[in-house]
Amino acid sequence: KELRILAWQGYADDDWVKEFEKQTGADVSVVFIGTDDEIWAKIKGSEGKDFDLFAVNTAQLQRYIDAGLTTPYDLSKIPNLKEALPRFRDLTQVNGVMRDGKVYAIPLCFDSIGLIYDTDKVKPAPTSMEVLWDPKYKGKVLAYDNGEHNFSFTALTLGIQDPFHLTPEQMEQVKAKLIELKKNVLSFYTTADEALQIYQNNDVALIWANYGQQQVKAMTDAGAHVAYVNASEGALAWLDTWAMTSGVQDKDLAEQWVNFVLQKKIGQQLSERTGFGNTVVPAPSAGEKDKLVWLQLVEDPLKRSDMWNEIKAAP
């Protein structure tokens, strides 16, 4: 028996894999991936045939379902789901994991996309994302390199209700705002560690924290004086899930794995090791009271990507 997993670092650690292999006698191989883009290229390129399971966030998941690259779960095979946090127990309440009554993804971990600020440099503590545009912080802001998310959070900052479905006028409005943001931005980063690195070697005051708590954890570990805040306008939040490919070879085994990682012990370890919130054990990731806006599939990813390219290319 063989299980082929495509995952982010931290979602399928060696010790878990070993334990699972011992339990099931299966042969598990994990290929690690660095960006959403590669997951898509890899899964789409092989028409889902190269892997059985892959980790993907709920927003991205939609296109895989659209393209018929996923297979729905049989929830009866995943008894541990009943142990999940209330928020994630009833999948009908979780935006984006179901389509036409079928479950296409099982939530694994999540994080909010908040704001990290240097407590020595930013006083008083900010509450709104507007602070990113504050001319005081010119050249001291780190932003994330992703058109979809940036449009969404900027829309939220501008007070737009549905940040995932923007009208063309709203798009233009957001675009202008983002071009303005560039004045303050030192660099667009793509990974948490990269942000930490930049922070360590440069004068950085504010970080738009795509990786949320995990990023804060890494930074405080490294001795940085930083704090984290979820903006009052509402913080975007991502939710990573396990999805099964259309080319899954051993559906049972795949479901066994998903069930396996939904254990409390593993959830705990995941949070400890990565700093992300897991879906089975409560973790400090996002306070229950914080206003989380779960990422959704946006109106036109292509358009956002193109416009983001335009923004980056803008002088």
Partner: protein, 293 residues
Amino acid sequence: MKSAAPILTPSRLRDLTMATAAYILPVVFVLLPLATFFVYSFFSVQGVQLVRDPTLLNYRRFFADEIYLPVFLKTCRLCLEVAGLTILFGYPVAYLLAVLRGRKKYVLLLLLLVPLLMSYIIKIYAIRSILGGTGFLNRFLLWTGVIDEPSMLFVYNLNAVLLTLSVLLLPFAILPIFLSLERIPRRLLEASSDLGGSGWQTFRMVTLPLSLPGVIAAASFVFVLALGDFLTPQMVGGQSGFTFGRIIYSQFGAAFNWPFGAALSAILAVVVMLAIVIGARFGNRAAARGSSL
């Protein structure tokens, strides 16, 4: 074989088998995959579905849209600068290697190649922590008192990309230049001195022109590798690190616009190929003259 043999002679047959053998792998593993991909460049997408109606839209868009051409040109300029910089620094090193004799030469050469085996992601990380606003370099310069406040010259801008790519690709420039320098007959340099040329004049008027084929080969290696690198601009380029490589890359992920990506790649390939063919012509001409003394 120019014999006018009308039938399939044994040697003809052998030629044919040889040709077939030579073509088979490149055709199967390069032409076939890339040809399908090239066909994609005439398609379009709707959502996550490919629309297989042939169209030239993707190509038109490259020229019509105001961001692609400028970014493309900017990227080309950047990569040319990288090529220029690596040659600027690689040339003296290659020259020294060519001057040295015996074992020293080969030890030095090997030592120059060793850093290639340090994973380049790790290297970029290291370079980044050296270059940052409060990185090692700035700290060092502050400490020595060369500067009073952190220099932003190499912090998240094109300069940083330029420098990083140059450092990463330097060995690819040194080797071809070294090989071409080594082929210049010592006699020509003596002849130049004999005619009264100073060391510098000899270098400028004899050595440099004769090493041009190697320089061009080096430049094309570096240029192509720099063009294909999408990570470095991303990681040290800050806001300016937006290159054509990244545009292409983005078409294959989030955007899911493979047809457009394919079109952009085709354009890139054509331009690079042209550059290389022109470069090679230039180099060949110099080499052809050099070949028979």
